[in-house]
């Protein structure tokens, strides 16, 4: 015991007060009411946070209770089948009780198996050109409207240099250029921050692909040399395709799933 722990020292020397246990018990018993009172009284963001916390606790408790109940149910379902004829509409009940027995882990595994063969994002929302290209007015009187600025995330190759302003029809602002993507390997269940090599295909059209616009569902090529993947022939793979799963312009980052 360090030198300055006076309370502990006192308790060690002289013990606690005689009704300490009783007080503790009562305090604990009262705590439920206290919490409930606070939950009703708390206002604003504090109230919200507290309610959320309590809700999460309750859910957790119900889940654990349910788990216990399930294990109980398992035992019950193992009962001997009743003798004699049973009407068809009662047969189903037994079946149901058995299905309940299946543990959550099995369900999880099934789900995973099903998901494995799905294409990550089969459908995407079509994006209008108006949304992607913002018209910039130019000229002394701002009358000319032939310039466009791309308002989505873009990938621009390293060797790219901008054209002179007179000929530059599409502007890809540097603030929205991305060079890296968070790529998830679906089998390894891990995510890597990988460099983008290029945009393979944007579902919204050829122009978008050429422009290097990255929207949700775009297939990009990423540099996977860090992962150390090897082809059956023994060569190191360094470029692989991945599909973007988020809206990069809204999230400020690119998340993608590796296509294996």
């Amino acid at each position: 015991m360090p030198q300055n722990e006076h309370i502990e020292l006192f308790q060690k020397r002289y013990g606690r007060r005689l009704d300490h246990e009783e007080r503790q018990r009562k305090k604990e018993a009262r705590s439920v009411h206290k919490k409930a009172e606070y939950a009703q009284k708390a206002l604003g963001i504090k109230g919200k946070l507290y309610a959320k916390k309590r809700y999460a606790e309750k859910v957790q408790m119900k889940k654990t209770l349910a788990m216990h109940a399930e294990s109980d149910g398992k035992r019950r379902s193992n009962e001997e089948p009743k003798k004699g004829a049973i009407p068809a509409y009662l047969l189903d009940r037994e079946q149901a009780s058995r299905s309940k027995v299946l543990s959550n882990t099995v369900k999880q595994k099934r789900k995973e198996k099903a998901g494995k063969w799905e294409v990550p994002l089969p459908k995407v929302r079509p994006i209008a050109e108006e949304e992607v290209f913002k018209v910039l007015r130019s000229g002394k009187r701002k009358r000319k409207q032939w310039k466009r600025m791309i308002t989505k995330a873009t990938f621009v190759g390293q060797s790219f240099t901008r054209k002179p302003p007179k000929y530059e029809r599409f502007i890809r602002p540097t603030g929205l250029r991305f060079t890296k993507a968070h790529v998830t390997h679906p089998e390894l269940k891990t995510t890597f921050c990988l460099e983008i090599i290029g945009v393979k295909k944007n579902p919204n059209g050829q122009t978008m692909t050429q422009m290097g616009v990255i929207t949700k569902g775009t297939v990009i090529e990423v540099n996977v040399s860090e992962l150390g993947l090897v082809t059956p022939g023994g060569k190191v793979v360094w470029g692989k395709y991945a599909q973007v799963t988020n809206n990069p312009e809204n999230d400020g980052c690119i998340n993608a799933v590796l296509l294996v």
């Binding site: 360090p2 030198q3 946070l49 308002t151 603030g175 809204n250 400020g252 980052c253």
Partner: protein, 677 residues
């Protein structure tokens, strides 16, 4: 010199608490209402502010933690080693380093997202970006959960560390477990350390304070040490090793000669020799404890030899420090220092001896430094001259003292009191000591009130002088007045003349009064507006009367005054009169109309000409002929007209009295003109 007070470290919030605090602060301190119809730049700014504010709050909160925790490289080596032992240096540094990195990352995230927000083109997108930014910051902080928890624990432990000053006078008590270190501490100081009859009762460093030679001393009680290699020692032992290694203190190595602690004297001696390197450069004292259980004399010779050997080693250790101390410690008792903490036997001797040793060594060390020479050069200790310095008593006093003092003749007040009935009865005569001009005045009666005046008010030591002075002054003034009166006395006037003088004066004063009144009304100008003349006194009739009274003929003046309102007909007549007058008088008092008439008109001139002045160009006036002069006159009149209309002081006056007249600049503009609203 830094002060080691770790009690004031601010609490380190847990990760979830920190998030709640920071996010709710952002919610509270930044605006919360945003509308989609706002200008996009305003919406962007609204969300940028949120992102930046959150980042700043994180930065401040974590920065405070980083600043307050001590840097292991900066603090005293004793503390840095102690913290290494207690909290593991690497772990500590790693935790702080991770927090530091997190701060940097949060700053970077904020910067990135603020840049992205600049391209946000809708409220929805800006909001999503803000959400992503805050989310990423929070995720980062959640990953620092373990570091924050660790730092909070370290803080709590550090705040309970005893406040050891590594540079002050210190006694350091060490030895095997259960040899009586803590009991020594308890007897010497008021620290109230736990003492139990088992090993490792003391598990950390304890500090107590005591007084010796009016100085404050710090006593440090260390946990027991076992004799084993350094690598295998546990945290508890390492604390005492740290203290031994880094504190410049006198070390009391306590040996239990009764061997009740479970270790033989041989074992204790072995430990002493194995940790000897730690004692280098420090005064060292071997103390034999528990003499109540085992007398020193009854020890077997073998043990005695061991103790002697330790003693010798200790002396050798001290010999390196000062020459004087060896002499002192060996001559003190020639043997070992013994005590019994149970019976409190010899404890104070041990204390005194240890303190003396440390003081001496500290002084010696100070003397060895270069600084002392600088100070010594400037010091001069003045010593009294040798020889007898007896007190100087005058001879007469000595003679008197021998012969006895003669009895004084004078009667003191006390003597009088004794004669006249003692204290309380006798009242002292105050008046007999009065200093007055004559002695017989001493007992005169003085009234308090005389002629209705308080006598005390007039008592003034130099009243006579001042009175005399006043009288002289008055006399002088009277004299002067008399002289003046002599010069202009009215006495030689007749009664009639006096009457006239009176009249004259009255008149004079009246005139002055009137003039003043007039001046007030007319505000200094000669003319007085008719409206001010309420009594209708400024009439020409009155003027005539009054001037007539004074013997002045005012008829001409009145005529001139009247001339203005006279009809043409009347004027004509006046002209004729004037012609008659021309021959007779050429007096200057001619009415204006008369003058005008004469300059302009000959009899042949037609009536239509207006009364204009001076048409002929005088030579030297710069005009060729009268026509030119007239033209100039007209032009200047024209100029004047405009200036006067606008109330200008002159050509240079371009002031605009009201730049924005209210009536022209307020209200709605309808179909009318701008100058009429």
């Amino acid at each position: 010199m830094p002060v080691y007070n770790f009690k004031a470290l601010p609490t380190v919030p847990s990760a979830s608490d920190l998030l709640d605090v920071v996010l709710s602060k952002t919610q509270r301190q930044t605006p919360t209402v945003v509308r989609g119809k706002w200008q996009i730049s305003r919406i962007r700014q609204f969300y940028m502010r949120k992102v930046k504010y959150t980042q700043q709050t994180f930065h401040d909160k974590l920065g405070k933690v980083l600043d307050s925790f001590p840097k292991l490289d900066d603090i005293h080596p004793f503390y840095s080693d102690l913290m290494n032992v207690l909290y593991d240096r690497d772990h500590y540094k790693l935790a702080l380093g991770q927090i530091h990195t997190a701060v940097g990352l949060i700053d970077k995230i904020a910067k990135d997202y603020v840049r992205l927000l600049k391209y946000g083109d809708s409220l929805y997108r800006c909001k999503q970006l803000k959400k992503a930014a805050l989310g990423r910051m929070c995720t980062l902080m959640k990953k620092q959960k373990a570091s924050l928890v660790y730092l909070e624990q370290v803080r709590q432990h550090m705040s309970r560390l005893p406040s050891i000053d590594p540079n002050t006078r210190t006694l350091l008590v060490c030895g095997y477990p259960n040899v009586g270190k803590s009991s020594f501490m308890n007897t010497v100081t008021r620290a109230d350390v736990e003492v139990e009859p088992y090993a490792f009762t003391t598990k950390s460093l304890y500090v107590g304070h005591m007084d010796f030679k009016y100085l404050r001393w710090q006593v440090i009680d260390t946990p027991g040490i076992l004799d084993r290699p350094l690598e295998t020692r546990n945290t508890i032992e390492m604390q005492s090793i740290t203290a031994l290694a880094h504190l410049r203190a006198v070390i009391l190595y306590i040996v239990d000669i009764s061997e009740q602690c479970g270790y033989t004297i041989a074992q204790q001696a072995a430990l002493f020799h194995s940790i000897k390197p730690l004692f280098a450069n420090k005064p060292l004292l071997v103390v034999c404890n528990k003499t109540d259980a085992q007398a020193m004399e009854d020890l077997p010779q073998k043990s005695k030899d061991l103790l002697e050997e330790m003693k010798k080693a200790a002396d050798m250790n001290c010999a390196g420090l000062t020459a004087s101390m060896v002499v002192d410690s060996s001559s003190a008792d020639g043997g070992l220092v013994t005590m019994s903490t149970l019976k409190e036997d010899g404890v104070s001797d041990v204390k005194n001896k240890a303190c003396e040793m440390l003081l001496m060594s500290r002084v010696d060390q100070k003397l060895k430094t270069r600084k002392t020479n600088d100070v010594l050069n400037r010091l001069h200790v003045a010593l009294p001259s040798t020889g007898v310095r007896a007190p100087n008593i005058p001879k007469s006093v000595l003679a008197n003292a021998k012969a006895g003092y003669p009895k004084s003749e004078r009667k003191t007040e006390k003597d009088l009191q004794e004669e006249n009935g003692g204290a309380g009865v006798y009242s002292m005569d105050v008046r007999k000591n009065y200093l007055l001009e004559k002695d017989e005045w001493k007992y005169d009666k003085i009234p308090e009130i005389f002629d209705g005046h308080n006598v005390a008010d007039f008592v003034d030591p130099d009243i006579e002088e001042r009175l005399a002075e006043l009288e002289r002054e008055e006399e002088a003034m009277l004299q002067e007045e008399e002289n003046q009166m002599d010069e202009e006395s009215e006495d030689d006037l007749t009664a009639e003349e006096k009457q006239t003088l009176k009249k004259i004066r009255a008149k004079k004063s009246k005139i002055i009064m009137d003039h003043r009144k007039k001046k007030q009304k007319g505000q200094g100008s000669a003319h007085i507006a008719r409206k001010h003349d309420t009594e209708r006194r400024l009439t020409s009739r009155r003027m005539r009367d009054e001037l007539g009274e004074m013997g002045v003929d005012a008829s001409a003046a009145i005529e001139r005054n009247r001339g203005r309102s006279v009809t043409r007909r009347g004027k004509k007549r006046a002209l004729e009169d004037d012609e008659d007058m021309e021959g007779r008088s050429k007096s200057r008092s001619k009415s204006r109309s008369a003058v005008l008439g004469r300059t302009h008109s000959s009899k042949s001139r037609s009536r239509s000409r207006g009364p204009s002045v001076a048409h002929s160009a005088e030579p030297g006036s710069g005009f060729k002929h009268s026509a030119q002069k007239m033209k100039a006159q007209i032009l200047s009149d024209k100029m004047q007209r405009k200036m006067q209309k606008l109330a200008r002081k002159g050509e240079g006056d371009r002031i605009i009295p009201n730049e924005m007249p209210k009536h022209l600049f307020s209200g709605k503009r309808g179909i009318g003109k701008t100058d009429r609203r």
